[in-house]
Symmetry: D2
Subunit: 366 residues, 4 copies
């Protein structure tokens, strides 16, 4: 596979460039009989749409999705679902200059090295717009997960130095704050921080957390397709992510075994763990507790300060990037993390269907 396909059974193949005609995705392996319409998907796309706040690029794209195949009379048919979003706001002129040099922190240089040339308009395939396909497909995955009683919820944990306080966690705020923080107070501080950075023509990074509840035990395939390994691959494949943590993540390296082990216990409602340092995954398999992961997002590389770099001609030069860029990627990436986690999880839920003889016999004999 050449890299644009994710998943083994619920597979998605994305296509399209930032300033090409269209961005889209083909989902293959979506089970038949799922109720699905454009509105279901649009709700997710709207969460990553540019222009929603002053901290997101002022490029105006409606990003309206169209279902081109795989749905008949309101339900999925089991055949490939093609979802497409036309690119409408293609101010390529803004980008013409960048054809001639390599922006620091961007993939311009590496694409040229790999392929010999590149579609430089707005970053081409390496643009954040590529995630539209992921989100459209993730919206479909999320619908299936929801029917299975699984809820996937991502939010901004921190932007630069400003972190949320879990005691103020307000889920409603995720969709209402411009930062996608579930904490109104932290969000206000983060907004101030971002305003200051914008004044300095600089940008910020942050941390996105994703919590998944309702996952049955037993999901994840040892040894290379562990649930955490697949989640890590899914999330690390998002452009700006530089670290992925599961459960207590980096903190575990400083803990002792007696601090880090989660004790099992049983009560009338079933088997549980007293703590969840493991983030809901043991040996790569879900243990029934909430799955917790965090993605660390780098600051937007497109800043409006002068920067040193080289041209395509190999000569040193100083450049000032123009165009429309988010001062922070984090809020718009929240739904992308949520969708990639959903896709990874759903694929392993399907893989698990054949884990046991009794399950297979029941399926075919009943």
């Amino acid at each position: 596979m050449a890299g644009s396909t994710f998943g083994r059974q619920f597979t998605i193949t994305t296509f399209g460039e930032s300033h090409g005609k269209t961005i889209g995705v083909v989902i293959d392996g979506c089970p038949a009989g799922l109720s699905l319409c454009e509105t279901d998907i649009q709700a997710y796309l709207d969460r990553r749409k540019p222009g929603a706040s002053r901290f997101s690029t002022q490029r105006r794209e409606p990003d309206e999705v169209e279902i081109l195949s795989g749905v008949f009379e309101g339900r999925t048919t089991g055949t490939p679902i093609c979802l497409m979003v036309p690119n409408t706001s293609q101010r390529s002129a803004d980008y013409d200059e960048i054809a001639s040099y390599y922006r620091p922190g961007h993939a311009d240089y590496t694409y040229d090295q790999k392929y010999g040339f590149r579609d430089y308009r707005g970053g081409g395939r390496s643009s954040g717009r590529e995630t539209i396909g992921r989100v459209a497909a993730g919206a479909v995955a999320a619908r299936i997960l929801k029917e299975l009683g699984i809820e996937v919820c991502a939010f901004t944990r921190s932007i630069g130095p400003v972190s949320i306080d879990d005691s103020r966690f307000d889920r409603q705020a995720i969709l209402q704050t411009p930062t996608c923080m579930p904490d109104w107070e932290a969000s206000r501080k983060a907004e101030e921080y971002l305003s200051d950075l914008m004044a300095q023509k600089d940008s910020a990074g942050g941390v996105i957390e994703c919590q998944i509840t309702g996952v049955p035990t037993g999901i994840g395939e040892p040894v290379f397709d562990k649930l955490d390994a697949r989640l890590a691959a899914a999330v690390m494949s998002i452009g700006a992510v530089k670290a992925v943590e599961i459960g207590d993540g980096t903190a575990v390296s400083k803990l002792t075994g007696s601090q880090n082990n989660d004790a099992f216990y049983a009560d009338e409602s079933g088997i549980h763990k007293k703590t969840n340092h493991a983030g809901g995954i043991l040996g790569g398999i879900s243990d029934g507790e909430p799955i917790v992961l965090r993605a660390h997002i780098k600051p937007t590389p497109s800043i409006f300060q002068k920067q040193e770099t080289i041209g395509r001609d190999g000569q040193n030069r100083v450049v000032t990037i123009k165009g429309r860029h988010d001062p922070v990627i984090v809020p718009r990436a929240v739904v992308v993390v949520e969708c990639m986690a959903s896709l990874a999880l759903l694929d392993l839920l399907m893989a698990n269907l054949s884990a046991r003889m009794d399950g297979i016999l029941k399926f075919y004999r009943d």
Copy 2:
């Protein structure tokens, strides 16, 4: 794929349980004509062999590898290479008790939930012994990388609170300290820390870093098979890893764009970057600078203190684990991280062979 296969072109499939007859791996897709003998592989296996220091399990296993196929007259033939290590020290009696309960921090519970029952002897398939197959295959990958001028070097960055000081970095120390730290002084402190923990019947975690030099630019397949995504999956699939960082990793979430961007520059020796916050990867593709990743390892879950858990019967109970267990996994996991990184990288080096028409034409026309 059911989880025991890694890679698309250089594929490895591992098999075997801790107390089964044998542990092994089949490599498919190894190019023909590579000089290979058991000694090449044994050197890597010896680095993860138990019993090498007082901080590793006292279980004595020679872990001697045999090449069963795919090599003829000292060279690989292009056909599958089966590598096998017999299990010899199977003191299953030590483990019989654990058949009846779920050890905290282990995969006992989740395997039972997924498969309905489990090979409980020594952790069965979820044992650290499973990594023997990875290391044997990784040794073969490393040989190929070496011929391409690529060097993969992993080491212990920290154990518990004790970190190395980069100013004291001594590469020789990696293979000579019991901690696999490249810093004699830090290693001594870590050894003291571990001795204290052992006295308290507790265990430690730590951080492994892996640096890869000599990687050509252009390696990694956008968008889901980015080099960092595949490295993350490779490393996160190792049992005790709970976080993976690329380059500056978690630190980037607090940096600004002007701090985090790596400026390109050209001099007579070619194109370089002034800094390497990105860890050698831009847009998922290698940029020619050293690739840097870190894996955060949890403390060994098998501790000799009393722990609360439940039995297979679903009843709450208090247990004390017996047997032979490492007080810290980190030193023995160093070579595993190195091998998984090598496997991920080699696979993408192969994928890149078909990235450009000129490369394909040259291959077939010359």
Copy 3:
């Protein structure tokens, strides 16, 4: 993978239904730097376009392809290429009746059994229109093969009882006869045969042959991805194909070893075989001689006679199919066979790039 993706490195994912909005394909893994425009692809699509002769359905579809991504300034960029053909002639009314019963010889019944319901309009996903995606992608593959000096040529060997005579082989005739036979005389006879069948409201099958010249030796991966195995899968995946032969095919079962073995010989121009019973493949690997395969196509199942079948209600009934259907599929399937063979071959040409250490070293060191 859920079935709509073909290939490992040059992968294609098709989507779309007969009466949906569009039919298309995403190609992932196309090497960068290939000159490509719509005209290149349209030429192939025109060969399968309906309405070209009185032996093909009178449904009028322009079947015009649009390149939506992956091409920039006339060359492929290495990123996914989405090709799309809108469906314009959607006379669904013709098909409404078939919602209520299962046409003999069609996939109506099996789709309903598998998925619980189906897009019945024009056969939905099981329609021959699905092959548009294959042909569009195959046209791209063919361009690459051509640059490698490989020529793929399919033609009609027989329709019903009428076979071509190899002594009259005229390659020009393939594109000029309504039967795609390379023999004007045989074509005239076949046309008469078809006219008679149409008068009887019946339909015909036939045999398509594909010859591939210029293939380097060494293509094909033992043991499951043999060149013949992959060609067989590629061709058998075309709707109406019921048998695939390589080289002498079914005839070999009656030959003796001394009759069937192809003797090697060397002359000043290199190594050759005196005969080519094997069809250019030995042990699943190309041997440098022309590759020869044949596909046996069943007669069009949509005939206008009365037929017995059952309704969706499970009741027996007699039906008469209406609509626009080819009395023979063979001529329009010729280009589909050619394209599937091209796709299978190209994918294995890419796989072979990593077969040998010297090839890999040369690629990365030069």
Copy 4:
């Protein structure tokens, strides 16, 4: 994947050469809870064992299988199952000579071209002994199919010009005649034919048929992973197979639609077809009727007559092959065809588990 792996969910990876230490297979994705022991597998291996009759090579190999992993207390655990058969009768001296030249009809030349050199001992990886891994894995697949009520039965339909008469079909004869024909009379004629050929130092081919009953409707994934496409790939990947037919196969190309369509009808026992020209597959999906396929096997290329060929030095020469070779491969290949068909079918039975929302919901909610 480099070619030695078959299947997506029930995956098998074979390894080993004719004269290497061992031949084997790793099965990944076998569901947990299947009762399995060596005897189950040995019964299948004994059917392909050499030396069983005078028409099979007199090489004496016990071909005893050992289960090395994945089974605990008599049941599969869901983890990889490694099955191994040591090579014991390695009279490599017989084969030393063939190091120097290319046997007509064998893969010697193509392996050398692909890989630069080859393990020439007994054909190395291209030997028929490679099928041991397929048969061992197929035996496991067959056990699962049997529990699902599916029976896979292959037999010899013809050897050279001698075909069975369906009116004399006696299933017991398959395991009792040296030809594996289900017809005692035809077998006797075939034995005479073979004796004559052996006297002439020549060899024969033949046809193997495989019938599969009890397959549920709905198995097969459109469009590229159709049941017939996967069966074709599975069977064509067996060394000597040159053609694969489904149902009426090659005969359909001469039939008309009215002759070839299978009428559906319903009675109290359910939905059926009056005929089964389609061989149980419509649109690539099983229709509930018996699945029928035929493989055409070429005559053994190792004959003891003088043959023209070239040496590794590129010089023309005349050779006479020595060693121990079957005068006909067909009888020993019967179980290989049966196993490959079983593997292809089982893999698609697993893929089908996620075809519908209701199936997934039922699995996870019950």
